[in-house]
């Protein structure tokens, strides 16, 4: 894995290289170079299997983090290419020409995060929800509990026996109480 990262860093500027396991490494690449790097890995380094694409919302930094997780069937190891894109105007170069499965991930990300992939097929189609017109639901600033209470007629007298609360009071009475919990109790 070390050699691959060295080879890759000679071509592109890598950040946040983390060796998570012997066979798994994560590295961040700038938005401009990402698709090029992924294509290079696929064509020259044998990372031919796209395991998954994912997206993480880092709302504090105002960034979305995209992940391209590639697997090498010969060396049997994985590399995760991370790309940070702007949260306000999320747009990323589409990779649907590289694998046939990519457009599905991009369609899902478009629906759940609002990221635009220009040129990706069937991007505007519904994936899991129909006619959704609120904030894209996987964003951190969308409060699902509030939305559910507002919309779906919660049944009254629902006794929520919060296990955390129960355990704190009954099972661990001697546990030091944090300031926030003290505030909640009041």
């Amino acid at each position: 894995m070390k050699e691959l990262i060295e080879k890759l860093s000679s071509k592109y500027e890598l950040q946040e290289v983390v060796y998570q396991r012997d066979n798994l490494v994560f590295a961040a690449i700038s938005k401009e170079n990402a698709i090029e790097a992924v294509t290079y890995l696929r064509d020259y380094e044998g990372y031919t299997h796209l395991v998954m694409m994912s997206c993480v919302d880092w709302i504090e930094d105002g960034k979305y983090q995209l992940l391209y997780l590639l697997h090498n069937p010969k060396l049997k190891n994985d590399i995760g290419i991370k790309v940070y894109i702007d949260r306000e105007n999320p747009e990323m170069v589409s990779a649907h020409h590289l694998w046939k499965s990519v457009w599905t991930y991009q369609r899902e990300m478009h629906e759940s995060f609002g990221i635009v992939f220009p040129g990706s097929p069937r991007l505007e189609e519904n994936f899991v929800v129909e006619g959704w017109d609120e904030t894209p639901f996987m964003r951190r600033d969308f409060d699902t509990h509030e939305y559910a209470e507002k919309t779906y007629f919660p049944r009254g007298n629902r006794k929520t026996n919060d296990p955390a609360e129960y355990m704190r009071k009954k099972l661990y009475p001697n546990q030091p109480v944090t300031a926030k919990q003290r505030k909640d109790d009041k």
């Binding site: 899991v128 129909e130 006619g131 639901f137 559910a148 007629f153 919660p154 049944r155 629902r158």
Partner: protein
């Protein structure tokens, strides 16, 4: 009109209707369901509105039970022959195969599976219902012939259960369609489901399972609730 002209005209009309869809953003109907003009084989032009031509927009009517010995006999027949729609709406449908196989064998109780809504009169809502499925469930429920019964499986249909805070699943099923029997648990065991069927039979024999009439009576209320959560209401109000 020659055949070529006809084809041109048809494709032009289709293109027009597609353009209409693109212009109006809030329109959820698909292009083929749009109101449009169609050229008939003889050259005449007919206006077609697929959504309303093939469905009824009428409210359902209440169908009063006949009463007396006849109704008692019919209720017995209904109770002893429950036809369940094979529509697994949620994760509870994993317990349906054990029910039709040697271990639990619900055929003994006269419960059978039917594939189409037209021929079934009991509907197992097997677990949580996402809004997208609820739309299909309502349409299916309205297509089923009355008297019809609903068994709601799992705690998710009672109060949302584990998904009480989910943006995608409903919390209370009885706000949208009337429920005859609730079967609690996550997920309920097949024995519980069998018990639910026995309970339903008992209700039918006592003449208490008249929820289809209740749906007709409170139709406006149910429709208002359904329209509140189904965002792309692109279907007629009632279809049978």
């Amino acid at each position: 009109m020659s055949e070529l002209d006809l084809n041109n005209k048809t494709s032009e009309m289709l293109a027009n209707s597609e353009a209409n869809v693109k212009n109006s953003k809030k329109n959820f109907t698909r292009p083929e369901d749009e109101k449009r003009e169609v050229v008939a084989p003889d050259g005449s032009i007919i206006e077609v509105n697929p959504l309303y031509d093939y469905f009824s927009n009428e409210k359902p009517k209440e169908e009063k039970p006949r009463g007396g010995v006849v109704e008692k006999f019919l209720n017995w027949a209904r109770a002893e022959s429950i036809w369940v729609l094979g529509f697994g709406t949620g994760c509870g449908s994993i317990e349906i195969p054990p029910l039709v196989t040697p271990r639990f064998d619900m055929f003994r109780y006269g419960v059978q599976m039917r594939p189409t809504p037209r021929q079934s009169n009991a509907f197992i809502i097997s677990g949580y219902l996402s809004v997208k499925t609820l739309k299909r469930v309502i349409r299916t429920y309205e297509q089923m012939p009355s008297p019809k019964y609903i068994l709601a499986l799992g705690s998710c249909t009672i109060n949302g259960g584990m998904y009480y805070d989910s943006y995608s699943t409903i919390n209370r099923l009885d706000k949208y369609i009337p429920v005859d029997v609730y079967i609690a648990g996550c997920m309920p065991r097949p024995e519980a489901l069998l018990h639910g069927f026995v309970k339903l039979k008992q209700l039918i024999k006592e003449g208490k399972a008249e929820k289809a009439n209740e749906y007709a009576r409170n139709f406006d209320e149910y429709k208002a609730n359904q329209k509140k959560i189904i965002k792309d209401w692109n279907m007629p109000d009632y279809n049978w």
